[in-house]
């Protein structure tokens, strides 16, 4: 599957890259990071222009983010409003909304770079929970530019080792995501332990 996609890069060039990055912002399972990296390799070989690649990847990313945000804002807001009328989900939603308000920009930026697998969901949530559009777009654009430059340059620099780098990146994303889950559960358990200590003493 990935190889079929890779073979399309020298044939259709930067337009394919742009379309696949846009679609992957909507949580469709397309290995767009690998495609951008392969694009970097093809740019080093002279099949594509490096700058056109970076611009296409970043533009596709921004377009996809805007689609996700506005879709969720239009479709998700009524759903959220209905949930908020019930007491139990309202508490969780308020907490999520508070977090998006306080740490939303960091979440948007991180989910577009280091934690890119969760990117689409943060995009949908930001829209549904009505994170300020200008702030969302600013953080998302910065993340998109860093991501596009990063993967294009990685592919450009290590042009002859694309298949190996792709596996290494898949594994490092696994390390980052599993690490985030470990840290998250650990912090929660630790707080719970501290709280129980405080009540017993």
């Amino acid at each position: 599957m990935t190889e079929t996609l890779l073979a399309l890069v020298p044939t259709y060039g930067v337009w394919l890259i742009m379309a696949s990055v846009t679609l992957s912002c909507l949580a469709l399972p397309i290995p767009s990071s690998m495609l951008v990296m392969a694009g970097g390799g093809f740019a080093a070989a002279g099949d594509l222009s490096y700058w056109q690649l970076v611009v296409a990847a970043a533009a596709g990313f921004m377009l996809g983010d805007q689609i996700a945000y506005h879709l969720a804002r239009a479709g998700g807001a009524p759903l959220i409003a209905r949930l908020q009328r019930r007491p139990k989900p309202a508490g969780v939603l308020d907490a999520a909304q508070g977090m998006i308000d306080r740490r939303g920009l960091a979440a948007v930026f991180l989910s577009r770079t280091v934690l890119s697998p969760v990117g689409p969901y943060v995009g949908f949530l930001s829209g549904a929970l009505r994170l300020d559009w200008l702030r969302f777009s600013g953080a998302a654009t910065a993340g998109a530019v860093v991501w596009s430059l990063g993967y294009s340059s990685l592919g450009f620099g290590f042009a002859s080792r694309i298949p190996e780098i792709a596996t290494m990146i898949a594994n490092s994303v696994g390390v980052v995501l599993a690490g985030a889950v470990v840290i998250g559960i650990w912090i929660w358990l630790w707080h719970s332990w501290k709280a129980s200590q405080a009540t017993t003493t």
Binding site: T167, N171, G174, A178
Partner: protein, 119 residues
């Protein structure tokens, strides 16, 4: 420490189980990453085997072969503009009737010949 552990097992058995599972997943990914990094740094694994998705120029780049040499290997027209030529090795194979193994052998022998001339 043991009080903390018994607290975890008593009060949060599911979360503790998930924590152990997440650590195990983390270790597997880290192990694979390390193994891949070691393989990556081994200089004998520098020239990648040809694959169908590669473009002729990409093969030239990864095997450090000048474009005219690549064009000869793949029986391409030297004067044709880039968009006229084959874009991927799949197209090269269908145009030339070679197999991927034969193409790989041609690339390897061209590489050896080039290195012999450079010495």
């Amino acid at each position: 420490m043991s009080r903390f552990l018994s607290f975890l097992l008593r009060r949060h058995p599911i979360a503790s189980g998930l924590l152990v599972l997440a650590v195990a997943v983390l270790v597997v990914f880290a192990w694979q990453f390390a193994a891949q990094a070691i393989y990556f740094n081994d200089p004998t694994h520098q020239n990648p085997a040809l694959e169908l998705w590669m473009s002729p120029r990409y093969v030239g780049r990864s095997w450090d072969l000048p474009p005219p040499v690549v064009f000869d290997i793949m029986r391409m027209d030297h004067d044709a503009p880039p968009h006229d030529g084959p874009r991927t090795l799949t197209e090269v194979l269908s145009r030339t009737g070679l197999t991927l193994e034969e193409l790989q052998a041609r690339v390897e022998s061209a590489k050896t010949a080039l290195e012999a001339r450079r010495r």
